[in-house]
């Protein structure tokens, strides 16, 4: 069965420190993976998708099929990065599975 695991429910770092939000997936097919961000009282927004291989707001994520991971990284966290982050796996015709989410707090 398809599954997305985000092992950290809460993650706290200081401003300027590197941050890595972990995501592991389980899927027998070719995965389509996304990171979504939800800032306080705002809607879910797409942050990254693995096939675009771009950097958004300084965040990057690399799909590692060997480790079945899609960790989200940023070398220098900013206070405005504080938010809820969801890793999501898409498969079939738009079906998806989301991770439990990680709440990132960046302290000044």
């Amino acid at each position: 069965a398809q599954r997305v695991t985000q092992p950290e429910k809460l993650l706290s770092v200081f401003k300027g420190a590197p941050v890595e939000l972990k995501c592991n997936y389980s899927y027998s097919g070719s995965p389509e993976l996304f990171w979504y961000v939800q800032y306080s009282r705002q809607r879910l927004q797409l942050l990254l998708r693995h096939i675009s291989r771009e950097s958004i707001k300084g965040f990057t994520a690399d799909l590692n099929k060997g480790e079945t991971s899609f960790h989200l990284k940023k070398p220098f966290a900013q206070e405005e990065d504080s938010a809820m982050y969801y890793c999501a796996l898409y498969y079939n015709a738009g079906k998806s599975t989301f991770g439990d989410g990680t709440t990132l707090t960046v302290k000044p």
Binding site: Q42, L44, R49, A93, G94, K95, F98, G101
Partner: protein, 113 residues
């Protein structure tokens, strides 16, 4: 920038009643989705919709639920005979193509009393 809009923002309904949640997807998008997020839990996929029919649905989306695109702009989620456990935030999303990123609405908070 165009947005997905959802109404109402908060719906309070008596258990056993029917409720309709409304969504206006982005106008040129072709794929539509509903998700649910129970308080304190993760976002869960409910259903995807394309070309006026359901393309995929999850185990959660049983006979109690239905979706409809009654006109060219609205996309609705109907929940019949609501139960307490239907209380959740319901998100609508749309995308231009199946492989394109989804744009989410602000959600409707459904409270079943």
């Amino acid at each position: 920038e165009p947005e997905v809009t959802q109404t109402p923002s908060h719906q309070v309904t008596q258990m056993g009643q029917e409720v309709i949640l409304r969504c206006v997807p982005i106008s040129n998008h072709l794929y539509f989705y509903w998700y649910r997020q129970i308080l304190g839990q993760k976002v869960e996929f409910l259903v995807s919709f394309y070309n006026n029919e359901i393309s995929e649905k999850s185990e959660i989306f049983d006979d109690q639920f239905s979706v409809e695109r009654p006109d060219g702009s609205n996309f609705t989620l109907k929940i019949r005979s609501t139960k307490l456990e239907d209380s959740a935030m319901y998100f609508c999303a749309s995308s231009l193509r199946e492989e394109q990123p989804q744009h989410f609405g602000d959600g409707t908070r459904l409270s079943i009393l």
